[in-house]
Subunit: 455 residues, 2 copies
């Protein structure tokens, strides 16, 4: 089961947390500080993510100042902004010391305009310049993901010169696997992989070994598209260029991995009306507020279904068995529909589904639905006949289930595509829209047929 | 909306597909072959993934033989096995020429034992050895993910010697960013990043610059745990060791990215009773068969709910309005519960939830549920009073909704944890279990209270 870490490892992580909480209860701040100091920033971040808000604030105060910045950048937006809310400008500037420009920008974008301006103006000249380069781009584009610390070389240099040039560096930027080759206008020409540099005769020039296969990423490309390119071509770093093809930065796989995780979580969370950035341990009130809207929307759709039922009160009065059976028709439709819906939404997220193959998909779904409708409606018909020994109700439920399962497949396949065409997020609105359809059609077909048949 | 590529890019990909289908219809195989030859193996794979099975087979035959292997390794297990099913041993061996050992092993594991043995014995001595190294480990462990083509050096060498040693290579293994330092027993000591190698004085020895911070990954670690480590520490490659700490291979981020994608997809697909490897374009019969089981299980739970309703036929006979309103109580519980369930399942997948913070989470969920129960039950009570102008039914539905929303929160938080304790996948069983609870409790509380109140 891919989403379950093995008992022992889960146990270890949970143990850390347990010990920590224990130490906190016993109130010995020093003990907790010692424990935290033994952990990597990433582990500290995970502990914070796994703690209720109040404990989070306490823990944060006990973290070694040097690592605060690294910890902060590992946190999800939601948790991070909770912690930033408790800091003043000086503290923020101090915390962001020595973070990558893209990470600082990422953090600043969560802050209110005013605070962001304050923090920026309090930063050093050079730092601000580098951060503002990144801030110039939308958070959800390549520009928002990129780092600006690239090492670029000219094509006319010999590898030997490049090697001596590198030796002058204390160290290369993190996860540097290639140098970027640019012309004198600073425009991107190609890549010079470090491995190539190490396996080639130093006397040859960069021009002779430059790799021009990798197209640079335009700074305004959406981050999900960047992620798909990295996934597709197994890149580790990729160059980012502006509209004049000038090299402006590089994107590294570690930033992309976060996008992939969020992108994949998006469908799951949205189908339940949740935000993929949602903090697992958000406080009661915020949680309640966020979910209230969703419940309200669903109450409306439920009321619509009830209104449909109310049209047939006369029939229900005569044949009470119908009231007993009607939820089955609706729920089977809902389940069948949600399967189609999930497959289609996932397929769209992976960029597999479009005009050219939608018809095939639709007929496939209808075919599969027809087979299952036949199977389970007959089963249900038999059960009904035995339960209420009334063949007429049995016939009605068979017909109603067939109608609703086919409708479900149709709705499950078409709704997400239609919603996207309307620029509405299918993952968010698809589920509600679908159950509305399957409930209404389910009750309408079952009770409608019964009314007509028993009249 | 993270899961939606921008119109133009979607358009481009879909255009390729459109043109391709058009070319296929016009029946000019040469034209299609030309189009395919202009695409990268990754793009060809995407086209195959996006095509119905019959077209897939046709396309496959038109693909340039050189790239068949690369295309194959880019495909999802489900699609890949469909294509392999049409090949004989010689063809398979030919196709796998020049693939990484881990990719070949990955492909072989999808094949029937007998076929796998045939293919292995038909491979060259050295290839077979390297593949069998990987096959020795479970597909879902670090060993199953790893590549065996590592470059290792001894600590006593000078960097200068290492540099000359590397020069002797035609090229380094793909995405090599570090060399591995091992002792004469072949046991792992640490990393030597290429960037370090390039920025340090060549006269120093490996021992002086070796990075020993990165712990090696035990070959039997589950792949999801490996993925979490890569995500956490932003690794690009990591060493894999056996139980004696001997270096046996390396894992690169590109293989990990696939694990992350699957891991994240797992919850989404499972909640709808689907397999995350499911082929979006699987043929009708396979699709129908796979979903039949799920629908059957849901029919059973729906029947249980109906049986509960049937206990109150007498009351329904007296007050038909109850039949109209009862689905609302059930559906609101289902929605509220699924929100809690999703948050908890996601939190568990991210390793955030365990014994130490479960209680806090539970009380948070109950708190949020209480607030929303209050709000929406009162709203619904008012609507009922106006609609049926019967204050008694209004009171009953208020009480029933409060009960069911609290139950939903309780079930949504506890079920996944309980299921996992029973070694049942919460993502797969959680949804059904939850709706069963919310339906039964919903109908039971609403009709039960009404019966008692109206008696």
């Amino acid at each position: 089961m891919p989403n379950q870490p093995p008992a022992d490892i889960k146990f270890r992580a949970q143990n850390q947390l347990g010990e920590l909480f224990a130490a906190l209860d016993s109130g010995t701040g020093r003990e907790v500080r010692r424990m935290l100091s033994t952990l990597t920033p990433q582990s500290v971040a995970q502990l914070l993510e796994s703690s209720p808000p109040r404990i989070r604030q306490v823990l944060w105060k006990l973290i070694d100042h040097e690592v605060e910045g690294e910890v902060l950048q590992e946190l999800s937006d939601d948790v991070r902004s909770q912690i930033l809310a408790t800091m003043d400008t000086e503290e923020m500037v101090a915390v962001m010391e020595g973070l990558d420009a893209d990470d600082v920008a990422d953090i600043l974008q969560d802050l209110p305009e005013r605070v962001m301006a304050e923090v920026l103006s309090a930063m050093s000249e050079t730092d601000r310049a580098r951060v503002e380069d990144v801030l110039a781009y939308d958070e959800e584009t390549a520009g928002g993901l990129m780092d600006t610390d690239t090492i670029s070389v000219r094509p006319n240099l010999s590898l030997d010169v490049v090697l001596r040039y590198l030796r002058r560096h204390e160290q290369l930027p993190e996860s540097t696997d290639s140098l970027f080759v640019v012309n004198r206008k600073g425009q991107y020409i190609g890549l010079l992989p470090l491995s190539k540099l190490l396996t080639t005769d130093p006397s040859v020039t960069v021009r002779e070994v430059v790799n021009t296969d990798v197209d640079p990423i335009p700074a305004d490309m959406p981050d999900t598209e960047v992620a798909r390119l990295f996934e597709k071509y197994d890149w580790i770093t990729a160059p980012v260029v502006d509209e004049d093809n000038r090299l402006v930065g590089r994107i590294t796989i570690d930033d992309v991995v976060d996008v992939i995780r969020e992108d994949a979580d998006h469908s799951l969370m949205s189908l339940a009306g949740l935000d993929e950035e949602e903090d697992t341990f958000a406080p009661v009130r915020r949680t309640a507020r966020r979910r209230a809207v969703w419940l309200g929307i669903n109450l409306l759709t439920a009321l619509l279904a009830s209104w449909v039922i109310s049209l047939f009160q006369g029939t229900l009065d005569k044949v009470v068995a119908l009231a007993v059976l009607m939820p089955i028709v609706a729920s089977m439709g809902g389940v069948a529909g949600s399967q189609t819906l999930t497959v289609v939404i996932r397929g769209m997220a992976l960029g597999q589904i479009g005009r050219s193959n939608l018809n095939w998909l639709l007929s496939r779904e209808l075919g599969a639905a027809a087979l299952n409708a036949l199977l389970w409606s007959l089963v249900m018909g038999a059960i009904t006949a035995l339960w209420f020994n009334d063949s007429r109700i049995a016939l009605v439920i068979v017909a109603a289930m067939v109608i609703n399962l086919l409708t479900a497949a149709l709705a499950g396949a078409i709704l997400p595509v239609a919603l996207r065409a309307m620029r509405i997020d299918p993952a968010l609105a698809g589920g509600v829209a679908l159950t509305t359809v399957t409930d209404v059609v389910g009750f309408l077909s079952f009770l409608g047929l019964a009314t007509w048949y028993f009249a």
